[in-house]
């Protein structure tokens, strides 16, 4: 059973539908006990980091998520929440991956949000990137970006390189939306389901 954390942000339905398309047994939950008992957990998220973190605290999920030992996948804002903090509202996040999430500076030539299909690069050997090749496109929509560091599994460049996928132990993240990234996204989710 994969538990998709429901914190009142958008895209939870899309993530759930994508898992269902792959034949996975998945359900939504915002119950700390249920999440703590899940065999795998997805943390989706669209919207503002501050709002999402306050929801996580209000629902009593902060410790439940931090204490997970089973595979955890953060998607989009969900990946950003895995980091120590975000410049978006200067909010402290879950601290599962070292580093600070920073704003992508908009300009005439570099429009923000970074919205659309961009390529994955510098792909590290990881169980989630099996079948994924450098140059493959994934669908991104975000205005803040995660730093490239020792836990980066794939990068994408928009002005500067940022972490498109991360992994530290049982914790993974995708900045792009695997549920909206066609075959490439489905491969990554399949790898997660098969863990």
């Amino acid at each position: 059973m994969i538990t998709v954390i429901e914190i009142g942000c958008a895209n939870t339905a899309s993530v759930l539908f994508a898992l269902e398309r792959l034949g996975a047994d998945a359900r939504l939950s915002s119950d700390p006990a249920e999440i703590a008992a899940a065999s795998k957990v997805v943390l989706p998220g669209v919207g503002a980091a501050g709002f999402a973190m306050s929801r996580i605290r209000e629902l009593g999920l902060y410790d439940a998520i931090r204490g997970l030992t089973v595979p955890l996948l953060g998607v989009c804002l969900g990946q950003q929440l895995l980091f120590e903090g975000s410049q978006e509202g200067d909010v402290e996040c879950l601290g599962l991956i070292p580093g600070q999430v920073t704003r992508m500076e908009a300009s005439h030539d570099l429009v923000v949000p970074h919205m659309g299909w961009n390529q994955l690069e510098a792909i590290q050997d990881d169980v989630l990137t099996k079948g994924v090749s450098a140059g493959d496109f994934a669908y991104f929509v975000h205005s803040f970006a995660c730093p490239v560091n020792a836990f980066t599994v794939a990068t994408t460049t928009y002005g500067q390189p940022f972490a498109a996928m991360v992994r530290k132990g049982n914790v993974w993240g995708c900045q792009f939306h695997p549920e909206r990234s066609s075959v490439v996204g489905a491969d990554i989710l399949k790898n997660f389901v098969a863990l």
């Binding site: 958008a10 895209n11 939870t12 339905a13 899309s14 539908f17 994508a18 269902e20 398309r21 669209v46 919207g47 503002a48 804002l77 908009a106 300009s107 005439h108 570099l110 429009v111 923000v112 949000p113 970074h114 919205m115 659309g116 299909w117 961009n118 390529q119 496109f137 669908y139 929509v141 975000h142 205005s143 460049t157 928009y158 939306h177 549920e179 909206r180 990234s181 066609s182 075959v183 996204g185 489905a186």
Partner: protein, 255 residues
């Protein structure tokens, strides 16, 4: 490299995809879910599903229908039509839409853009603008889904795009109405003027009739995406061929 997006727009009326010339006289083209899947298979980068009657009839989109599309599709899609409150928009997003596009309701109550951006994040908020060239300037129109109700909104397009952006829009879809449905090319001058005012993505709409219209809208107006309906629905242009043409012209696309 970030690919330029090709976005088929499905104008939906009562669950069917329709297309009218200059918005008047709708013709039924097919079932919405079937056509959404067909475009996914052909390599569309994103879809816009526009309930063309919702706004002018004062009703909102049917979220079950949004869910059906979301269940089937694995590419992003945006829902437009009749979204009047941030709560409705969030419901629509929770049903599986990736973005919501607001047009007439944002003109009635511009604060809606701010509310939506606050609740859902700017990246989910698209402001759609129907713009018509008049006496050398460009003016916003509303209720374009209904020929009896369409009217000028009393705003200059170049003012409204900046206001929409400042209020928190994450993307602008500019539909140039003189061009709509006649397939003579995008309004490059208008799009370029708007593009130069923005640091958020701009999507061109209205006028696509041939592959070279897409090439020129990307090279000359520097838009992030190009939206079209009839050329795709009537199979005048096949998306895989179009993308190969764009690639040959040096435009980054997802193949």
């Amino acid at each position: 490299m970030l690919a330029r997006r090709i976005i088929p727009c499905l104008d939906v009326k009562d669950g069917k995809v329709v297309k009218g010339v200059q918005f008047v006289g709708h013709e039924i083209l097919g079932d919405a879910v079937d056509m959404a899947l067909r475009y996914r298979d052909e390599g569309a980068d994103e879809l816009v599903l526009y309930d063309i009657t919702a706004s002018s009839e004062g009703r909102t989109v049917d979220y079950n229908w949004v869910s059906e599309i979301a269940r089937a599709l694995d590419i992003p899609f945006c829902v437009a039509g009749g979204i009047r409150s941030a709560e409705q928009a969030v419901k629509c997003l929770n049903s599986g839409a990736d973005k919501v596009s607001i047009n007439s309701p944002a003109l009635e109550r511009p604060d809606l853009i701010n509310e939506l951006a606050e609740m859902a994040g700017s990246q989910c908020v698209v402001v759609g603008i129907d713009s018509r060239e008049m006496d050398g300037d460009y003016y916003v129109h509303q209720y374009s889904g209904d020929p009896d109700k369409i009217r000028q909104a009393g705003r200059r397009t170049l003012d409204w795009v900046v206001e929409a952006r400042d209020r928190g829009a994450g993307e602008i879809v500019l539909n140039c109405m003189n061009q709509d449905g006649v397939r003579k090319g995008y309004n490059l001058r208008q799009l370029r003027l708007v593009r130069d005012l923005l640091d958020i993505p701009l999507v061109a709409s209205g006028g696509a009739g041939a592959p070279e219209h897409f090439t020129e809208v990307f090279t000359k107006a520097d838009v992030s995406g190009a939206l079209a309906a009839s050329v795709f629905h009537k199979k005048i242009i096949a998306i895989p061929d179009l993308k190969r043409d764009l690639q040959r012209a040096g435009i980054p696309v997802r193949l």
